[in-house]
Symmetry: C2
Subunit: 104 residues, 2 copies
Amino acid sequence: MDQFTNITIDKKANVYFEGKVTSRTVLFEDGTRKTLGIMQPGEYEFAAELKEEMEIVAGHLDYKLSGQDWQTIEGNGVFYVPANESFQVKAYSVVDYCCSYISE
Amino acid sequence: MDQFTNITIDKKANVYFEGKVTSRTVLFEDGTRKTLGIMQPGEYEFAAELKEEMEIVAGHLDYKLSGQDWQTIEGNGVFYVPANESFQVKAYSVVDYCCSYISE
């Protein structure tokens, strides 16, 4: 089982879209940050401030980066969102994800 | 903001009730374990193996321990579940919880 060690976690969840998307913020010793999140089935648009690595740990979704075609992930996969861009998601199942925020 | 430090977290979520209840397992240096979870609105029955401290961080729910009356928590609160007992929950909102497992 993949684990992250020596981290700090906020007790309180981050809640978006009336709770259909929730996440937990984890802070690493090197100052970097990830969120571990769950999406309920639905359609969402997210705005990235920093560059994001979106790792889908489990689930079935389509995603669309700005100016690109829709792509599908079933099971697991990863995509990258440039800083200051939005992306769209259509989640067809509960989606378990790990988002890493990357300062450039 | 309350935080837990020097912990290990599983990357993958725990998924129950078709994803309407999900949680993240965090392990502490002293060997103890908590789960940070989210319930979508709905009715659930949970079985506790160890004694559990169920802290409601945010949300509105009724809960019922075995042999006791229904109780309400709105906002935040805490209840304890004896080892090897079940409890019922009616969640009226998204519920953010922190469950501590207590070996006796």
